[in-house]
C-alpha cells in the first residue's frame, strides 16, 4: 500500500510540474500571448479585446490557477480560431487518436511477443538470426516513411485500404477500422521490433540466473524452467519498454495522422500551431503529457503486481 501511495504522490507531483512547464512555455515566455496570437498587423483594440477574452489581465499566478482549475473541471478554454470550446474539439478528435494508439499497441504486442519468445528459444540458430535481422531493420525504418510505402503499395497499387482520411465512426465500425489499419501498421512495426528485442534479451538474461538452475535441479527441462520461473521476472524490463512505447506511440501518432490526414489530436495540434492558437496548443499538449504520466504510473503499479519486493506491507 505504501508503494502505491508513494507512486500516487509522485503522479500528482509530476502532473503539477508538467503543468507549470507547459504554462510557462506557452503563456509566460512569449511575453504577451494575445499579441503573439494575433500577429504583427493587429490593432491595439483587437489585442485588448483578446486579452480580456483570454483573461490575460490577471496576474500570472491567477491565470495559472484558473487554467489548472479549468482543466480539472473539464473546461479547456475556448479555441480562438474555431470559436468553440477546446473540450469539444478534443472529444471529436480523441475518438480517432485513442483507437489508433490502442490498435497499434495491440498489433505491436501480437507481433513482438511470439517473435521474442521464438528468438530466445532458438537463440544462436536460424530463427533467431532471422527475427533479429528483421527487427534491426524495423528499428531503422522511420514510421512515416514506412507509412508512405504502405500507401504506395496497399492504397495506390492494390487499392485494398484507403490512402488517407477518416470516414467517421458513423460510417460503421469496419469502415473506421479500415481507415486506421495502415496507420496502425506503420506505427506498430518499429515498436514491435524494439519490444521483440527487449523480450528476447530479458529472457536470455534469465537463463543465467541461479534460480533457473535451482528449477533445473528440481527436474524442470530448460524450456519449462524458463517458462515457469523466467517469464515473470523477464516481464519487468518488458513493462518498462511498454510504458516508454506509449509515449513514442503518441508522438509517432502525431506524425502519422499527418501522413494519412486523420482528424486526430495530432492534426489538431498542428492546426493550432499554424494558426497560432495557443489555447489549443497549451491544452492539448497538457493532455498528451498527462496521458504519458498516467501510463507511467500504471506501469509502476504493474511492477508491484509482478514483483513482490516492491509491495510493502
Amino acid at each position: 500500500m505504501g508503494y502505491i501511495l508513494s507512486r500516487l504522490i509522485s503522479l500528482v507531483v509530476s502532473l503539477a510540474a508538467a503543468s507549470v512547464v507547459i504554462f510557462a512555455a506557452v503563456e509566460v515566455v512569449p511575453g504577451d500571448p494575445a499579441a503573439f496570437m494575433l500577429g504583427l498587423n493587429a490593432s491595439e483594440d483587437t489585442i485588448a479585446a483578446l486579452r480580456a477574452e483570454l483573461g490575460l489581465d490577471g496576474s500570472v499566478l491567477e491565470r495559472y490557477v484558473g487554467w489548472v482549475g479549468g482543466m480539472l473541471t473539464g473546461d479547456f478554454g475556448t479555441s480562438y480560431t474555431y470559436r468553440v470550446p477546446v473540450a469539444d474539439l478534443v472529444s471529436q478528435r480523441i475518438v480517432v487518436s485513442l483507437p489508433l494508439a490502442g490498435y497499434a499497441l495491440l498489433l505491436s504486442t501480437l507481433l513482438a511477443v511470439p517473435a521474442g519468445l521464438v528468438a530466445a528459444a532458438w537463440r544462436g540458430r536460424a530463427p533467431d538470426y532471422g527475427i533479429m535481422a528483421a527487427s534491426q531493420l524495423g528499428i531503422a525504418v522511420p514510421n512515416f516513411w514506412f507509412a508512405m510505402l504502405l500507401v504506395l503499395a496497399f492504397a495506390i497499387t492494390w487499392k485494398i485500404f484507403p490512402a488517407g482520411g477518416f470516414p467517421g465512426w458513423e460510417a460503421g465500425f469496419w469502415a473506421g477500422m479500415r481507415a486506421l489499419t495502415l496507420p496502425a501498421i506503420a506505427l506498430a512495426l518499429p515498436q514491435a521490433a524494439i519490444l521483440a528485442r527487449v523480450l528476447r534479451s530479458a529472457l536470455i538474461e534469465q537463463t543465467g540466473q541461479d534460480y533457473i538452475r535451482t528449477a533445473r535441479a528440481k527436474g524442470l527441462s530448460s524450456g519449462a524452467a524458463l517458462r515457469r520461473h523466467g517469464l515473470r521476472n523477464a516481464m519487468i524490463p518488458v513493462l518498462t519498454i511498454l510504458g516508454l512505447q506509449f509515449s513514442f506511440l503518441l508522438a509517432g501518432a502525431i506524425i502519422i495522422e499527418n501522413v494519412f490526414f486523420l482528424p486526430g489530436l495530432g492534426r489538431l495540434i498542428f492546426q493550432g500551431i499554424t494558426q497560432r492558437d495557443l489555447v489549443v496548443v497549451e491544452s492539448v499538449t497538457m493532455l498528451l503529457v498527462c496521458a504519458v504520466i498516467v501510463v507511467t504510473f500504471l506501469v509502476d503499479i504493474a511492477y508491484a503486481l509482478v514483483d513482490p519486493r516492491l509491495r510493502r506491507r
Binding site: R213, R216, A217, K218, G219, S221, H229, P308
Partner: protein, 534 residues
C-alpha cells in the same frame, strides 16, 4: 528409511562414479574421477578453487554448460545416469537426485512464495495434487526448522535471511526423499552459527532419510566434522580418498598434507606489541537512517555501532570478530575516517579522526579489502594503483623506487608495476593491495576480511607475509574477520562484536581458551574445528 538400516555396502546402492572425465570446449576439467557413496553416508569432496569439485557435482546431475563432453559411468542405485536421455534426467532430478547450491540469496525465484517453490518439486513429479502439495510443503518447511508461525509458506524469499533461504532450498531438495543429495558449498555464504545449524540439519536429514550425500566444500574443518568419507581433489583428479579418520591421520598424498598444513598454519610472529596507545576509540556510535516504513512515519534508525571503546597499541595486531551485520565494517569505515560518528571519538595518537581530517593523518592509516577482484580499478596499471595514496602525501621524487620497493616487500617484482590487475591471481592481487597499503608508510593497516576470499594454501603465505611486514615496518594491524581460526593465528588481542557492541575483549589466547561471554562461547562452539584424532 529402511534402506539405511541394511547399509551393508551393496554395489548397487547409492552413488558410484567410475572413471568420470569431463572436457569443456576441449579443455580437460576432470580426469578419471571414481567415487562411491553408500546410502545414509556423507562423502566430503574437498579441494581448492578450480580443482573441479563443483563440476564433478554438475556432471553427476548432468547440468553442464554447452560444449561439455563426459566419459565414464555414473550409477545411482543401479541406474547408469550417463545413458539416460535429457527427458529421463528431468524426470530423475528432484525425484531421485537433488541439489543445494552455495548462494541462498539468489537461488530462489524472487517473485514466487517459498511455499509455491517447495510445492513445485512435488507437482513437477506428480507426487501430489495441488492441495496435498501445499500441505506437504508446509510440513517440509517446518521440518527444516522454519517456524510456521514466524515464517509461513506464503512468504517471499526477500523476507528471509540467508540461513532461512538455505533451509527453503533444503526443503525443496528433500521433498521427494531422493537417493542422492548434492550439497555444493551449502554454508560458505553463511555465518558460523548459522553454518553450524544448517550442517547439523543436513547431517540429521541424511541419516534419517538414508540419502547418499555428496558434500562439496573448501573447508577441511567442515568435512572432518561431518563426513563419513573424504575425497581430496586437485586439478580434476582425486588424489586421496578414504574414511575421514584415516585420511586425516595418515595424509598419504603430499597435496593432502600441504592442504592440512596450510589450514592449520600459524605464521611465526615476533611479539612486538608495546604499551603505547596508537588508536583510541571512545564510546563510538554510528546510526543509519532506515527507509521510511510508510510515508507518514518518521524514518527509523539502525544503531550499527553502539558505544564501542577500545585501544589499539603500537605494534599490536588486534582482531575484531563478529558475524555479518554486527557493525564491524561500519566501525572500520569510521576508523578510516570515511564516515562520521554520531557520538564518541576516534583518535590516532591524540589527533581526532573524522571525514574532514587532514591528508597527513589519513596517510597514516591504510586498508586492505576482502575481494581481490573489486579492489582495483581494472583500467589502471599496478604502478598507478600503488601510487594512488600519494594523493595524500604529494608524489615524492623517489616515487618510482618506492613503488618498486613496495612490490618487492610483498614478494613481487618491480616489473609487475607495468601490468594490469586482471593479469594476476587472487593471491597476487591481495599482495598488490597490501603493497598499496604500505606505500604511504602508515602506522596502522585495517585488514577487512583480507584473507577470507583466498584458498587455504594462498592464505597461509599471505598470513606469513603480513607477519613479516609487521615485524619489519613496526606496523599495527586491525584485523577484521568472521573467521576465528585466522584471527587466532595472527592477532595478539581480540575484540568480539555483537549487534554493534563489543561484548568481550582480551588476549587472543585467553579469549579462545576460556571465553567468558555467552556469545563468544556460542561462536567458538559453532566454529568448525579440524577433528585431528577421529
Amino acid at each position: 528409511m529402511a534402506m539405511a538400516d541394511t547399509a551393508s555396502p551393496q554395489a548397487e546402492q547409492g552413488l558410484q562414479l567410475d572413471k568420470l572425465s569431463l572436457a569443456i570446449h576441449g579443455t580437460q576439467i576432470l580426469q578419471d574421477v571414481s567415487l562411491t557413496i553408500a546410502p545414509g553416508q556423507i562423502l566430503g569432496l574437498v579441494g581448492e578453487s578450480g580443482s573441479g569439485k563443483s563440476l564433478t557435482a554438475f556432471s553427476v546431475a548432468r547440468l553442464l554448460p554447452e560444449g561439455s563432453v563426459t566419459s565414464g559411468q555414473v550409477t545411482l542405485d543401479g541406474t547408469d545416469l550417463t545413458a539416460l536421455s535429457e527427458a529421463d534426467m528431468c524426470a530423475l532430478r528432484g525425484l531421485r537426485l537433488s541439489m543445494i547450491f552455495q548462494e541462498p540469496m539468489t537461488a530462489l525465484n524472487p517473485v514466487k512464495t517459498i511455499g509455491d517453490q517447495v510445492a513445485e518439486t512435488l507437482l513437477i513429479h506428480r507426487a501430489a495434487n495441488r492441495r496435498q502439495a501445499y500441505a506437504r510443503a508446509a510440513d517440509l518447511l517446518a521440518r527444516v526448522g522454519l517456524d510456521p508461525e514466524r515464517i509461513p509458506p506464503g512468504r517471499y524469499p526477500h523476507e528471509l535471511s540467508g540461513g532461512q533461504r538455505q533451509r527453503v532450498c533444503i526443503a525443496m531438495a528433500i521433498a521427494l526423499q531422493p537417493q542422492l543429495l548434492i550439497a555444493d558449498e551449502p554454508t560458505t555464504a553463511l555465518d558460523v552459527t548459522t553454518q553450524a545449524r544448517i550442517l547439523a540439519l543436513l547431517r540429521d536429514l541424511v541419516r534419517e532419510e538414508g540419502m547418499a550425500c555428496l558434500l562439496i566444500t573448501h573447508d577441511l574443518a567442515v568435512v572432518s566434522q561431518l563426513a563419513d568419507r573424504i575425497a581430496v581433489m586437485q586439478k580434476g583428479q582425486i588424489v586421496e580418498a578414504g574414511p575421514t579418520g584415516q585420511v586425516i591421520s595418515k595424509r598419504e598424498h603430499p597435496y593432502t598434507r600441504a592442504l592440512f598444513a596450510a589450514s592449520a598454519h600459524q605464521p611465526r610472529r615476533a611479539a612486538a606489541a608495546t604499551q603505547a596507545p596508537l588508536l583510541e576509540v571512545r564510546e563510538a556510535r554510528r546510526d543509519y537512517r532506515l527507509p521510511r516504513a510508510s510515508l507518514w512515519q518518521a524514518p527509523g534508525h539502525l544503531r550499527a555501532v553502539d558505544g564501542v571503546s577500545f585501544t589499539l597499541r603500537k605494534g599490536e595486531s588486534l582482531g575484531l570478530v563478529g558475524e555479518s551485520g554486527c557493525g564491524k565494517s561500519t566501525l572500520s569505515r569510521a576508523i578510516l575516517g570515511l564516515e562520521p560518528l554520531q557520538a564518541g571519538t576516534i583518535a590516532l595518537e591524540g589527533a581526532p579522526v573524522a571525514p574532514e581530517m587532514g591528508a597527513d593523518l589519513r596517510g597514516r592509516m591504510q586498508v586492505v579489502f576482502q575481494d581481490p577482484y573489486a579492489s582495483f580499478n581494472p583500467r589502471h596499471r599496478v604502478a598507478r594503483i600503488l601510487s594512488e595514496p600519494f594523493y595524500l602525501t604529494g608524489r615524492p621524487p623517489d616515487a618510482e623506487q618506492r613503488i618498486a620497493a613496495a612490490l618487492e616487500a610483498v614478494e613481487m617484482s618491480a616489473s609487475d608495476g607495468l601490468k594490469y590487475p586482471h593479469e594476476f591471481s587472487g593471491g597476487q592481487r591481495q599482495r598488490i593491495a597490501i603493497a598499496r597499503a604500505l606505500i604511504t608508510r602508515p602506522d596502522l593497516i585495517v585488514l577487512d576480511e583480507a584473507v577470507s576470499a583466498l584458498d587455504v594454501s594462498v592464505r597461509a603465505t599471505v598470513l606469513d607475509l603480513l607477519a613479516g611486514l609487521q615485524e619489519r615496518f613496526g606496523l599495527s594491524y586491525l584485523f577484521i574477520s568472521h573467521d576465528l581460526t585466522v584471527v587466532q593465528a595472527i592477532t595478539d588481542r581480540v575484540l568480539v562484536m555483537q549487534k554493534g557492541r563489543i561484548v568481550e575483549e582480551g588476549p587472543t589466547r585467553a579469549v579462545f581458551e576460556a571465553p567468558r561471554h555467552a556469545y563468544t562461547q556460542a561462536l567458538l562452539a559453532a566454529a568448525p574445528r579440524l577433528v585431528e584424532d577421529a
